[in-house]
């Protein structure tokens, strides 16, 4: 392969890696914020499912309402339907319902682990079971309601508003396709990651939050309301992670929900948190790298040994494992997980 062909391949590969990476970026940013408060939320895969399906439910209801209004004498008028579809509402309704669904999941987790001091691992795993169940159940029910003969719901028209690229992207050649060809939620993900990074490292509230995750007893003694910080960080973290599910359905999958399509991306997001050693700003690049690793197997020529593709799919996890091991080997204090990660806090206990 000559150099020019390689570059062309790269220009087509990178945008695909980026769109794979964006849901992971949302998930890992949310989980980092959560873990900084000392909560190891293993329910993130469930939260992302619920975020996705809540957005789909919102979009579905809006779609049905518009269809109802665009139906004249029992026949759907497609042009009227297109005109009635309001761009603002098409984005706002799915987004708000996504945030609401993810918030509820975060509240369940917080109530059990912070207020009731339950074991975080067990609660998180139960939350994942529950969340994936909710996603697939509601998805399946909507598929039934919409009466389609394929096992998926298509909200194609509404999703167009989500994955509209920047208007001048098409005219700018490789630059356009590398940097400007994504829907607005991709840029939102990067913005949120940078914002969370700034919040954690540069603001007073961020400092308090980190102290809660490192040593809640000390934070408590300093007059910081531990429970409030844990609740806030976990709920906001869940909402950010939920947006990852929404991005996946409405932008990446063009508004098509099919059960279990989201796959194991939630766990990959948790892996990404370790990979970035709890730094959301590093997550921006790292998530694109992970996205690339996730689809690498489609690009590497394997010849007749198709099985090798399965081994390439292992790459993100192996890389994460190596980072986890290396960061504990080097034992630098700023690269460690929050010290109180995964442990409940009860003031009267030493």
């Amino acid at each position: 392969m000559n150099f020019a062909a390689f570059l062309a391949e790269l220009v087509s590969f990178i945008p695909r890696a980026v769109v794979q990476g964006i849901p992971l970026l949302y998930g890992s940013t949310g989980e980092t914020l959560t873990e900084k408060s000392g909560n190891l939320n293993l329910g993130i895969p469930g939260v992302m499912y619920v975020g996705g399906i809540s957005g789909v439910v919102g979009a579905f209801l809006y779609d049905q309402a518009v269809r109802g209004r665009a139906t004249v004498d029992g026949v759907l008028d497609p042009q009227l339907y297109d005109r009635l579809l309001n761009p603002f509402l098409s984005i706002a309704i799915p987004m708000l319902s996504c945030l609401l669904g993810a918030l509820l999941m975060g509240l369940i987790y917080c109530f059990l682990t912070v207020s009731l001091r339950a074991n975080q691992n067990v609660t998180g795993l139960a939350l994942t079971t529950f969340g994936v169940g909710v996603g697939n159940f509601l998805g399946g029910s909507l598929i039934k309601l919409s009466g389609s003969d394929v096992p998926s719901i298509a909200l194609t028209k509404i999703s167009i508003f989500f994955h509209q690229p920047l208007p001048f992207a098409a005219n700018l050649g490789w630059f356009g396709s590398l940097f400007l060809s994504y829907g607005f939620m991709a840029y939102l993900a990067v913005a949120i990651a940078l914002l969370v990074s700034y919040f954690l490292r540069r603001t007073r509230a961020g400092l308090h939050l980190r102290s809660v995750g490192e040593n809640p007893a000390t934070a408590d003694a300093a007059g910081i309301n531990v429970a409030r910080y844990k609740y806030a960080a976990t709920c906001v973290g869940s909402m950010i992670a939920g947006l990852g599910g929404l991005y996946y359905v409405m932008d990446y999958a063009s508004g098509v929900w099919s059960n279990n399509a989201f796959g194991d991306r939630g766990w990959l997001a948790i892996a990404l948190v370790i990979f970035t050693i709890w730094r959301p700003s590093v997550g921006v690049g790292a998530s694109f790298l992970f996205g690339g690793l996730y689809i690498l197997h489609m690009y590497i020529p394997t010849g007749t040994m198709l099985a090798v593709k399965e081994l390439y799919k292992m790459a993100p996890y192996v890389v994460t494992l190596i980072v986890l091991i290396l960061s504990s080997l080097r034992n630098k204090r700023e690269n460690q997980p929050p010290q109180h990660l995964g442990l409940p806090y009860f003031r009267e206990e030493r």
Partner: protein
């Protein structure tokens, strides 16, 4: 008293209880389960529009209607129990092994490998011996790695074992394609089903019931694990390490060795579960063969307070409800994921109920004085 009138007492005061008598603790748990079932029933009624009696009967019949259903249920309980038993020693040590899924899957892979690779060269009994050894070894390696790094460099074991699950899954996916049968299907199918390899490497059928052997093996393991944890020196050592590593040091316990030894045992038992699945019942290999039981086992073990005998009850409860919820979904034309929602709700309630066993909640009395304060 003067100080108390100045400072406002918070509305809710939480304090740790002394030990609750075991029957009261179980009463609280039973109450939580009853409450959870009520919520689930309500949800079922809302979704299906049938009366609660029908739903109750469906749940019960899912496990007990025919003898086949009963045995399938019993077998599911046994497999779940086996993984739960396997992860328990690690949990007693406060080593959060959420990698039971991967360890069991490696056991499946190892037994399948023996069944396929050794079928031309060894007699049946030798294949089965190899399968037992290989599956335990494969699980043990998957348990050893996180323990080794935890013991020496304090690497976070929850995240480590979680990653190992996916590496195991992809390894299995790889070998599923390598050994695919028929060619091009990407699946293995039933291993050694036809002549000339008829049932090579299949565990023997005992008493004319193909589930019985697995159930017996797990029953014996359960008793052994109970004895190991409660009465052996190893069991004592790992409990001390879990409670306080410093105390363990003072007692002269070699903490590193205990961590590694316990996780090797834990992984090996998970691997053995893989053998029971691939060699004993399913005779196949897929990436979803363990089916999330590695994660459910974490909850079973925790629900039973890491006591192997209570785990029988906990795993029965979860399997019973899961099968019931599964039948509700099929009988009333719902999506199969409905059972996951119900399982989730039940787990939330049981998880929440532990709080009321460990802690006492007292509310502020009128006037801001608590009873004890006045009594003084």
């Amino acid at each position: 008293m003067t100080r108390e009138t100045k400072s406002r007492e918070p509305l809710v005061h939480i304090s740790r209880r002394g030990a609750m008598p075991w029957w009261r603790a179980w009463l609280v748990r039973a109450g939580a389960i009853a409450l959870a079932l009520a919520v689930c029933a309500l949800l079922c009624i809302l979704v299906t529009g049938t009366n609660p009696l029908d739903i109750g009967r469906t749940v019960f019949e899912a496990s007990f209607k025919t003898s086949r259903k009963f045995w399938v249920m019993l077998h599911s309980v046994a497999i779940l129990l086996c993984i739960s038993l396997a992860v328990t020693p690690a949990f007693r040590m406060r080593f959060w092994n959420v990698g039971g899924e991967g360890q069991a899957l490696m056991g499946c892979l190892a037994s399948a490998a023996c069944m396929i690779l050794l079928r031309d060269s060894l007699p049946n009994w030798a294949i089965i011996v190899c399968m037992v050894l290989a599956s335990c070894l494969a699980g043990a390696i998957w348990g050893f790695l996180p323990a080794f790094f935890k013991a020496n460099w304090n690497t976070n074991e929850t995240l480590f074992t979680l990653m190992m699950n996916y590496i195991a899954t992809q390894l299995v996916a790889f070998f599923c394609v390598v050994w695919e049968n028929p060619r091009g299907s990407g699946q293995i199918g039933i291993i050694n089903q036809r002549a000339p390899y008829t049932q090579l490497g299949w565990l023997p059928v005992v008493g004319g019931n193909k589930y019985l052997l697995n159930v017996i093996i797990v029953g014996v393991l359960c008793v052994l694990m109970f004895l190991y944890l409660s009465f052996s020196k190893h069991g004592f050592e790992l409990s001390v390490v879990g409670e306080s590593e410093n105390t363990a040091h003072y007692l002269g316990i070699k903490v590193k060795r205990v961590i590694i030894r316990t996780m090797v045992l834990s992984g090996a038992l998970c691997g053995l579960t893989g053998l029971l699945l691939t060699g004993g019942n399913d005779h196949t290999l897929t990436t979803t063969l363990v089916g999330g039981r590695g994660f459910t086992a974490v909850m079973v073990s925790w629900l039973a307070k890491f006591n192997p005998l209570w785990m029988i009850l906990a795993s029965f409860l979860l399997v019973f409800l899961e099968r019931g919820a599964g039948d509700i979904s099929t009988n009333f034309g719902l999506n199969a994921s409905f059972s996951d929602i119900l399982t989730g709700i039940i787990l939330f309630f049981i998880i929440g109920s532990e709080f009321f066993i460990t802690y006492r909640v007292s509310f502020r009395r009128h006037g801001g004085h608590r009873k004890e304060a006045i009594a003084k």
